[in-house]
């Protein structure tokens, strides 16, 4: 695998980090208040590979969506590369998603009527990449993930592992600073899980900060350098693993 050059932002090494302060997300359902996220303070440095674990309903996805700017916190703040997300305009927030981050989901969330390549290209629609460049970049990224033969296949014609690789290509083709992955291997078998985790690791080593939600503690242990476990919307433990650091300093 070739080098992933962070061409877009040269300041990435100095500034790309994530910090939350008393981050809360509450849902009010009638008389009940669900504290999906409840006062989370968290700091992630640039180049880290963090796994977030916890039981179902503990608020992992909620945390990830807030960090990705898809959801808005009830309370607290999020700082990405020194900038406070809450202060962003709607447009600026869209640009943040379009340029700075990539997302991968458990259910792949590929657009079913688009081919693998078109799905990847879609990620470049919103960051003003010229059309010819879009094609080239997505081909390259798919080839890099071993899908050179699958460019024109539709998601339905691909295996789960292949689909998740397409999703990964889509998340990474724009060369993001941060990758948010919400149970990326949740629907995959052991073999594909290994392949995906290897890829995540590889990209992390090339400078992408990775925040991955998972149920799979073995996976967490094998790729993440740090494991955060959550329960009832709070961080309960935050430990470093012995996975050798390969990413940026």
């Amino acid at each position: 695998m070739t080098d992933s050059k962070p061409t877009k932002d040269s300041s990435i090494a100095d500034t790309a980090w994530i910090r939350t302060s008393k981050l809360s997300r509450h849902y009010v359902r009638g008389p009940q208040e669900v504290r999906a996220l409840d006062g989370v303070d968290l700091t992630i440095s640039h180049g880290e590979f963090v796994a977030v674990v916890g039981s179902s309903g503990s608020g992992k996805s909620t945390l990830l969506n807030l960090l990705a700017g898809l959801d808005t916190p009830t309370e607290g703040q999020i700082f990405i590369a020194g900038e406070e997300l809450n202060t962003f305009s709607r447009k600026r927030l869209s640009r943040y998603r379009a340029e700075q981050i990539g997302m991968v989901f458990q259910s792949f969330n590929l657009i079913s009527h688009k081919t693998a390549q078109e799905n990847v290209e879609t990620a470049l629609y919103f960051n003003e990449t010229p059309k010819s460049e879009r094609r080239k970049l997505s081909r390259e990224m798919l080839s890099r993930l071993g899908l050179a033969e699958r460019l024109d296949h539709h998601p339905a014609d691909l295996s789960g592992g292949e689909q998740q690789r397409v999703a990964l290509a889509r998340a990474l083709v724009k060369n993001p600073q941060i990758l948010f992955a919400d149970e990326p291997t949740g629907n995959l078998d052991r073999e594909n899980t290994a392949a995906i985790s290897a890829m995540l690791k590889s990209f992390n080593q090339n400078g992408v900060t990775v925040v991955m939600v998972t149920h799979d503690s073995e996976l967490a242990n094998t790729c993440a350098r740090r494991i955060i476990s959550m329960d009832y919307g709070k961080i309960v433990t935050d430990v470093a693993t012995d996975v050798d650091a390969g990413g940026a300093k």
């Binding site: 447009k91 379009a98 458990q106 259910s107 969330n109 590929l110 879609t122 919103f126 059309k131 949740g186």
Partner: protein
Amino acid sequence: MTISDLLQNAAGNLWRMKLRALLTVSGVVIAIAAFVAMLSFGAGMQETISDRFEQLGLFSTMYVYPTKDGQVDETPMGRRERRAQKESDDGVTKSDSTSIDSEKTDSSQVDSSEVDSIALDSLPTESRLLDSAAVELLGLIPGVNLAYPYETLDITVTFADSTFESQARAAPMLAIKTKLFSQFKAGKAFESDSSQSVMVTDRFLRNAGIDLDSSEIVIGETIIVSVDIISIDSALTRALFNKDLDSVKEHFKDVHFDSLLNSDYRSRLISAELGGAFSRFIDGYLSSRVQIAETLTIVGVIEGGMSGNLVKPVVLPLEIGKHLSEAGFSGSKQDLFTSLASGRIPGLGSSESNDSSQQYSRVTLDLDQGTPYESIKDSVEALGFRTFSFAEEFTELQSIFLFFNMALGMIGLIALVTAGLGIVNTMVMSILERRREIGVLKSLGADDSDIKLMYLFESGMIGSVGALGGIMVGWLITRGASLIAAWYMRSKDIPEMEFFSLPPWLVLIAFGIGLTISVLAGLYPAARAAKVDPVQALRND
């Protein structure tokens, strides 16, 4: 996202849901087709009339009439006014009022069929007689190519064994060359003002029972044109006039001449207040008629225009016309009155009444091409005359057409609103189906405005495709209807005309409206799509 991205995306999405898109587009196609077909009908009618006007030179034809002042107002309103004034003015006697009552009843029967009631309402600045000096003056107005009197003769025509009543108009050679007299069906114009020839119109052929398609057969045929003229003892009338000219004139001012045709009223009037000499004069004037005739050769058949109503059935060279009309008074009652009111008895012989004293009830102006009628109208009115121009009528007609077109357009618009609702339905459906996709796009950095634009482009594309299709279908419908109409007109022997027209502005408007309605229809779905919560949409099921 660039425009081309948006277009491609919209096309792709519509292509994917072909059937649904097709059905929605069909709604727009039908609506636009209806809209186009209806407005095409309006435009076609307008164009046909305009072409017809243009062809006949009506846009460059203007009629000039004398003003009401010092003249007889032939409208019922005018009569009533005069009568009321008379009663208050000179305290009418009992016998007088009886005669006036009968006048009232008579005048309702003998209505002014000869009078052109058009343009009677235009108010003059000063009044003036419409005599040959005036005609000359009118001819000098810049932009007026030619001014010539418009005189109508009631004639009797003998042609190929049949004899019938008709009307003739004499026109000078210069006028004969204008468009009005140049729509030849067969033959040509006569050579000179004095040639013993005549032109007839399609209406004449119809009256004579000749098939319009075989107009050529009448060329070279002989026609006898005769007029009934009033022949009275000129010596008597002259004596009568010289003796008491003023008092007779006074009487003429008060008497309505239409009513004189009623012999009962006439005798009462005469016995009531006038002497025997006057009685004889009136009787002679109206009763003893003599016929004079001209034998002429038909040289041309022209179109009468406006179903034969524009040009009188028979067109005579100027000199022939003069000969017929100056032999004695033969014209309309209005002309008679015009002359009498100014103290002149028509038909007293051409020796006495030279050209300059002759008055016309109407003068035709042929305007230079492209001269706006308003300026000529102003100049003519400044001279103290009233005008009528087809161009002015046409301007009015156009505003009627505008309403007509708007009414037709409204029907099309109703269909379009229905089609628009179809678009809303389709788009809302597709948003429900594509919720996850919208979520994905948002997670990839699509802004609300991007999502909105994507949906607006999609509905706009439905509208554009529908509008283009509708314009084509509408055009096909008008072609079909046109063919059927042509076939029908041919079978009924009606002159063919085009009912439909699809001018570029109509195509543009149809397209614009189709696009506008579809984009409007897309506004709500687009706003709804932009509001999709990505967190919800992307949730694992």
